[in-house]
């Protein structure tokens, strides 16, 4: 068996390379490491302060993935991740660490190191030979830093959406997206109904074509004696909002949410029962 912490260069040289290292490219959340040939890896005097292993879960081979070859320059495809290892036993080594200011990023890898052997692979490079290695080691992670920036932007937008959408208490992406979709459908329907009610001579034809409820709304409009114009081409609701604004003074209407304007359906025969609930899934004829 291997003791990962006690492995030194001798053990490294004595290992047999069982798998094709070219196939070790991992796609992880933020890391990819492009594998290189076995000969290129064994460099002289490379000392390891700690090792991480790639667990091939198929046949449970342990593989050591050492550092890159000495003479390799930074290339765009070379991706190496260096994380600070808080648990390193070789305290006398000065670790050559890429500075990730995002501490949660580091925590993620450390946790995975000690947790189940997921498909992650990181390396720690000691810079006792830093004169040679420090300039060759491609510490910059280009792809993953771009991805991280994109993820940050994405989570910013998720947070914004969370604030916009009511009752959005869960923070995971799927829930936020789900609620957003429902909320948008709901808003669109509400606007359609309200526009029909309130804009008698000013019915925006676009709204009637919007969404799946247009035939119902048309029926509603016709039933009340209004006369929608001929069907226009599909155009977005907002783009059709160059409505002539009626000369109304502004009164504050006491509505705090979607529901307030739509009370529960009354028993009036003229009232379109079932039209008004929030989720209009059950009022189709």
């Amino acid at each position: 068996g291997h003791n990962p912490r006690g492995l030194n260069n001798q053990d490294l040289m004595g290992l047999e390379w069982t798998n094709d290292v070219e196939s070790l490219a991992l796609k992880d959340q933020d890391i990819s490491v492009r594998a290189r040939s076995g000969e290129d890896r064994i460099t002289n005097g490379l000392k390891w302060s700690d090792d991480y292993f790639y667990y091939d879960q198929a046949d449970f081979h342990l593989q050591i993935v050492p550092e890159i070859r000495k003479e390799e320059e930074n290339s765009k495809k070379d991706l190496t991740l260096v994380v600070p290892d808080e648990h390193s036993e070789t305290g006398d080594h000065h670790l050559h660490i890429k500075d990730y200011s995002d501490s949660s990023y580091n925590r993620r890898f450390l946790r995975n190191k000690h947790a189940k052997p997921k498909r992650r692979r990181v390396q720690i490079l000691s810079d006792d030979e830093s004169g040679d290695f420090s300039r060759k080691v491609p510490l910059v992670i280009r792809k993953s830093s771009k991805r991280r920036i994109r993820d940050d932007m994405m989570s910013n937008k998720m947070r914004t959406l969370q604030q916009l959408v009511p009752n959005c208490h869960k923070t995971d992406k799927v829930s936020v997206l789900d609620k957003t979709i429902e909320y948008m459908k709901n808003l669109q329907l509400q606007l359609q109904v309200m526009s029909i009610m309130g804009m008698n001579p000013y019915i925006p034809q676009a709204t009637l074509n919007f969404g799946m409820h247009n035939h119902l709304l048309r029926a509603m409009v016709i039933a009340h004696g209004l006369n929608p114009a001929k069907q226009t081409t599909l155009s977005p609701l907002i783009a059709g909002s160059n409505w002539p604004s009626p000369p109304f003074s502004h009164l504050s209407f006491p509505h705090s949410s979607n529901q307030s304007l739509f009370p529960t359906p009354a028993s009036s025969p003229q009232c379109l029962c079932g039209l008004v609930p929030c989720f209009p899934s059950d009022f189709f004829f």
Binding site: L177, D178, Y183, G198, N200, H224, I238, L251, P263
Partner: protein, 93 residues
């Protein structure tokens, strides 16, 4: 959809929600958005961040529309002699 993972089986720690699931939701969201520049032509891929950005804008617009319409409707309801008021009342009450 087969790739959809049940949301109730969320694991602690790292997220196991598949990218496909999120992508599917984003596409769905994109379909709801008004297509201003496309003329009903949809490209195969949609950029998620762009979709989210437009969603935020769109929701804000929709909310504003709702507010405006509410004001107009309230004003209409105030006037007792208008046919519109009768219509609205019949719908709401």
């Amino acid at each position: 959809m087969s790739s959809r993972r049940s949301r109730s089986s969320r694991q602690t720690g790292t997220s196991m929600i598949s990218e496909d699931q999120i992508n599917d939701l984003v596409v769905q969201l994109h379909r709801l958005l008004p297509e201003l520049g496309n003329n009903n032509r949809r490209s195969g891929k949609v950029s998620a961040s762009k979709v989210l950005q437009e969603t935020c804008t769109y929701i804000r617009n929709l909310n504003k529309e709702v507010d405006d319409l509410s004001e107009r409707l309230s004003q209409l309801l105030e006037s007792t002699d208008s046919a519109q008021a009768a219509l609205i009342r019949s719908l709401l009450m």
